[in-house]
């Protein structure tokens, strides 16, 4: 009887909360990894053939990008963009980024009077998967809407047409590698 009472008391002791230890400490939240230094991307813009591009994060929330695109019959197009990324990086191995900004898409051609260009207001969304802080993969897309013009629009040989003929858009997706990170 005495042995049974001792065993019951031991069980009760084990089952009781450890009041003396206080709340159990939560595991420390990992420090979010900053944006990578640079993204090297293959750019897809169906129905056109793929192009290439790079994005460089000059500051934690600012990036510039340069792309070489092949938009069909009018030869290579060059694109420069800048974006602001308002969302602070969260997480380390997996991150979602949303950037807003603008792009300038342009090419050289005789028929346009020298050059044609499209000014875009754009949104860039990407997902980063980084097994290492300085190395990972990026998947993303960019969509923009803007105004197109060409050198001829400012001379004697401007084409006729409605204002809506100056409306342009771009929808691209990309995949590539993410390299580096600020220290």
């Amino acid at each position: 009887m005495r042995r049974a009472a001792a065993a019951l008391a031991a069980l009760l002791f084990l089952a009781s909360p450890a009041r003396a230890e206080g709340p159990k400490p939560r595991p420390p939240t990992p420090v979010p990894w900053p944006k990578p230094r640079v993204l090297f991307r293959a750019v897809f813009e169906p129905p056109f053939s793929p192009g290439v591009g790079a994005t460089v994060f000059l500051a934690p929330r600012w990036s510039v990008s340069a792309d070489l695109l092949n938009r069909g019959a009018f030869g290579p197009f060059y694109e420069l963009g800048f974006h602001y990324w308002p969302r602070s990086p969260r997480g380390s191995h997996h991150q979602l980024g949303v950037g807003v900004g603008g792009d300038l898409l342009a090419n050289h051609s005789v028929s346009s009077g020298g050059f044609a260009a499209l000014f875009l207001s754009s949104v860039d969304i990407h997902y980063l998967a980084r097994p290492l802080r300085d190395l990972g993969l990026v998947l993303g897309g960019k969509m923009g809407l803007g105004v197109s013009f060409e050198a001829r629009d400012f001379g004697d040989h401007a084409r006729g047409g409605a204002a809506l003929d100056h409306l342009g858009f771009q929808l691209t997706s990309y995949a590539g590698v993410a390299l580096g990170s600020p220290r």
């Binding site: 053939s49 030869g75 060409e150």
Partner: protein, 277 residues
């Protein structure tokens, strides 16, 4: 020769060309090869048995003769597909808008004007106006014959080349679709010994950066692999019609001359095919 040299003006600078070649290498674009020269008797004897011969025999024989005399000429034939979309798909102008039976659409007029600039510039020496009776309710409305009448009436007096302007104007009054416009034009080119022609149509403005350019016939041809043009040709003919490249230059007056260089014809398949609507 001047025309050929001018057409090469659009060749970009070295850096640009290098980047372009890199892009081509990256993307595997089609080559600009125009294929072998067309051999055999010219004009092809089979052409004499077709519906196009009676309308075009004098011009066809003239083209062959001139070509022998000017082998250095790069492009010989500008192809102008008619269009009447201004009044709806395959619709003639309403009778009220067409009292004297000469009306053509604004877009067709712009194409003919461009063809005239190419002809006057010497880039080409002949023009083919293509387009049949597209409206079943108006068999009298034939795009090619109206286009020819407009062309001769508007530019005949300004023509300073050899012979009359009509001697340099061919017509295809059969084709009723974009696919047959080009199939007939390519077959006629082959029958005349040409392995290339210049398509004069509505091109996307601003290098295709405007959304409205996606609906133009030029975009339809230039992006033939991804537009439905190749698929439509396979469906209707069982084969595709070759390569298309944007081509542009400026004349002495500063006018912009824009067209599509078309080559890589499927010669034997075209020879075996018929002219038709």
């Amino acid at each position: 020769m001047d025309a050929a040299r001018d057409l090469r003006q659009h060749a970009p600078m070295r850096l640009h060309a290098a980047i372009g070649l890199l892009a081509l290498a990256l993307t595997g674009c089609a080559s600009l090869d125009c294929g072998p020269e067309i051999d055999g008797e010219l004009p092809a004897p089979s052409l004499r048995e077709t519906a196009l011969w009676s309308e075009n025999h004098a011009q066809a024989e003239r083209l062959v003769a001139e070509r022998r005399a000017h082998p250095e000429q790069d492009l010989w034939l500008a192809v102008v597909p008619g269009t009447s979309e201004q009044w709806g798909h395959h619709r003639a102008p309403p009778a009220a808008d067409d009292p004297d039976g000469t009306r053509i659409s604004d877009e067709f007029r712009a194409r003919l004007e461009m063809a005239w600039l190419f002809l006057a510039h010497g880039t080409v020496r002949f023009v083919l106006v293509s387009g049949g009776a597209v409206d079943p309710d108006r068999p009298d409305y034939v795009e090619a014959t109206r286009g020819r009448a407009y062309f001769l009436g508007t530019y005949g007096a300004a023509w300073v080349g050899e012979g009359a302007l009509a001697d340099h104007l061919l017509v295809d009054p059969l084709a009723e679709h974009s696919t047959t416009n080009l199939r007939n034009a390519d077959k006629l080119s082959v029958d005349l010994g040409l392995n290339r022609n210049l398509i004069v149509t509505t091109l996307p403005a601003r290098s295709g950066l405007s959304a409205s350019g996606l609906t133009t016939q030029g975009y339809y041809f230039l992006e033939h692999g991804t537009s439905t043009f190749d698929a439509a040709c396979r469906r209707d003919f069982g084969y595709t019609l070759g390569d298309f490249t944007a081509e542009s230059t400026r004349d002495a007056q500063g006018n912009y001359l824009e067209g599509i260089r078309h080559c890589g014809f499927p010669v034997e398949l075209l020879r075996a095919d018929d002219y038709g609507p």
